[in-house]
């Protein structure tokens, strides 16, 4: 019972947040809407016993990424009076097509559960503690995990290299003139 109540509340918050994020004309409202959606999804993870994923969701997405978005929005100082004109027709049609496609993909992915009533991805006894997640990450999926680590490290290094080595200081520019 309690689960149904909590789920209903946070599902509603997640949906409203997502809609606000897309429709709000003020970027700060969009950011807050996205924040609400992310936080509600973290609550869903808690209800699914995936505590570690929930904590990471809040720390990384709600905590770091959204703060950065808000910071950039405030730093650039987007004015509330900025009005974005209607999007071109092609874009609107594309939006509808992609939305339908995405919805269909979700339905396909969740179909197993809807028809048979069992979990679409198998594994009935799910354990979301840090120990269980670590066992999987560093046991079953070590190579995949380390590849992701490599990928992210290379991306970070690339960013630093692009920003740092391509940089021409004001003095150098003057010297070349």
């Amino acid at each position: 019972m309690a689960e149904v109540v909590v789920f209903s509340i946070f599902a509603a918050v997640a949906l409203v947040g997502a809609v606000v994020m897309v429709t709000a004309s003020n970027p700060v409202y969009s950011a807050i809407g996205l924040l609400g959606a992310m936080f509600s999804i973290a609550v869903m993870y808690v209800m699914l016993d995936a505590h570690f994923v929930a904590a990471v969701q809040v720390i990384i997405y709600a905590g770091a990424v959204m703060t950065l978005f808000l910071f950039v929005i405030m730093l650039i100082g987007v004015d509330t009076s900025d009005v974005y004109g209607m999007r071109p027709m092609v874009q609107r049609v594309m939006t509808v097509v992609v939305s339908i496609g995405f919805f269909a993909a979700i339905v396909l992915a969740a179909r197993g559960a809807w028809i048979t009533g069992s979990d679409a991805f198998g594994s009935g006894d799910f354990n979301g503690t840090i120990e269980a997640v670590a066992d999987n990450l560093f046991g079953n999926w070590t190579i995949v995990f380390l590849s992701t680590v490599m990928l992210l490290t290379i991306a970070a290094l690339g960013t630093i290299a692009l920003a740092y080595f391509g940089h021409v200081s004001a003095d150098d520019e003057e010297a070349t003139l």
Partner: protein, 348 residues
């Protein structure tokens, strides 16, 4: 007893305890700062001015909450609530004493012991920045906005250092459950040295510095630097809404102090004398916990009364170029030490 009743009682008790403590901290800070600065400090309301916080609270309650004309009203009113909530919630995972046995059932003196305890703390402290950011933005005025931009940059930077400082603690404890970390600090090294995590000295220092920055306390109070940006993010707030920001700041000071005491100073661990009657022996761990926590609270006040405010570029350079590299190096050292202990030398 149903788990719901137990949880409700614990949560209410924790909130009452937290609010009363905050009142005392505000008074104690003013007294200590005035002592450190050779002043008398509040001495009119009650003996030693101890009712000063209550009087201030009553004053804030009856003051008008002014609403700036250009404020974004919904967010403007939501921000103070968003400041207090994470502060209250963080305290729920901190154990304030040893488990107590009442009528054959064991109760922990902690609202909940989460498997992800430390991550929960980090998650909530990363949420706390929104209150300040949104308060500054929604005030519709330039000084609050400057304070908010400073706050978001500062809190993201020092949150990283704080998280990294906690990694060695987790490595050595082998758990992120806070009760588990306290259990790991019971006992002694050798004969009498307590086995506290303070032996991870770099972590302790970095955590404490990051804690000062996370709570926006001196010397990192650029967010509300009165000589530069009036009151920072809370410039436009008055009355009860201002009081809520004030409350949140002091609850956060207590939370960080309690966390420092719990993670690095052994929490409630300490000698329990045998001669006391068993009925009051359960109070002794609470006493140790409060003693350690208040020692850290005093450190907060002492630092505030002693150190001047940092410059903004110094703050950023200190966070990113000193604290984070040092904590990364320290994590590697700790990991190597643990690997050595577990598996022996690589050449053996």
């Amino acid at each position: 007893m149903s788990i719901f009743i137990e949880a409700t009682i614990k949560v209410i008790a924790a909130f009452v305890f937290l609010l009363l403590t905050t009142l005392i901290i505000i008074w104690a800070e003013r007294k200590w700062v005035s002592d450190l600065q050779n002043r008398i400090g509040p001495d009119r309301a009650g003996p030693f001015g101890i009712l000063q916080s209550l009087a201030d609270g009553a004053k804030a309650f009856f003051k008008e909450s002014i609403r700036p004309a250009r404020a974004d009203f919904v967010i403007y009113m939501a921000a103070p609530i968003a400041a207090v909530l994470p502060a209250l919630l963080i305290f729920l995972v901190i154990p304030i004493g040893a488990p107590v046995e009442i009528g054959g059932t064991e109760y922990t003196l902690q609202v909940m012991d989460l498997n992800i305890g430390l991550l929960y703390v980090l998650a909530l402290s990363s949420i706390a920045v929104y209150a300040i950011t949104l308060a500054g933005w929604s005030s519709g005025s330039k000084y609050p906005l400057l304070g908010a931009v400073r706050a978001s940059a500062q809190m993201i930077s020092y949150e990283a250092a704080m998280g990294l400082a906690l990694v060695p603690v987790v490595l050595f404890a082998g758990t992120t459950s806070i009760a588990g970390i306290v259990d790991g600090q019971q006992g002694t090294f050798g004969a009498f040295l307590p086995a506290w995590n303070i032996v991870l000295l770099p972590s302790f220092v970095i955590f404490l510095i990051a804690g000062f920055a996370e709570t926006n306390r001196a010397p990192f109070d650029l967010v509300e630097a009165e000589s530069e940006i009036v009151g920072g993010y809370h410039t436009e707030y008055s009355g009860l809404t201002f009081a809520m920001f004030f409350l949140a700041e002091y609850i956060n000071v207590f939370n960080i102090s309690a966390l420092t005491a719990t993670l690095f100073l052994g929490g409630w661990a300490g000698p329990v004398p045998d001669f006391l009657p068993t009925a009051i022996q359960w109070l002794v761990p609470i006493f140790w916990f409060l003693l350690k926590t208040w020692a850290v609270v005093f450190l907060f006040v002492w630092v505030r009364a002693t150190l001047p405010r940092m410059r903004y570029d110094q703050l950023m350079a200190f966070g990113w170029k000193r604290l984070i590299p040092v904590s990364l190096a320290w994590i590697i050292l700790c990991a190597v030490a643990i690997g050595f202990r577990e598996f022996g030398a690589p050449w053996s």
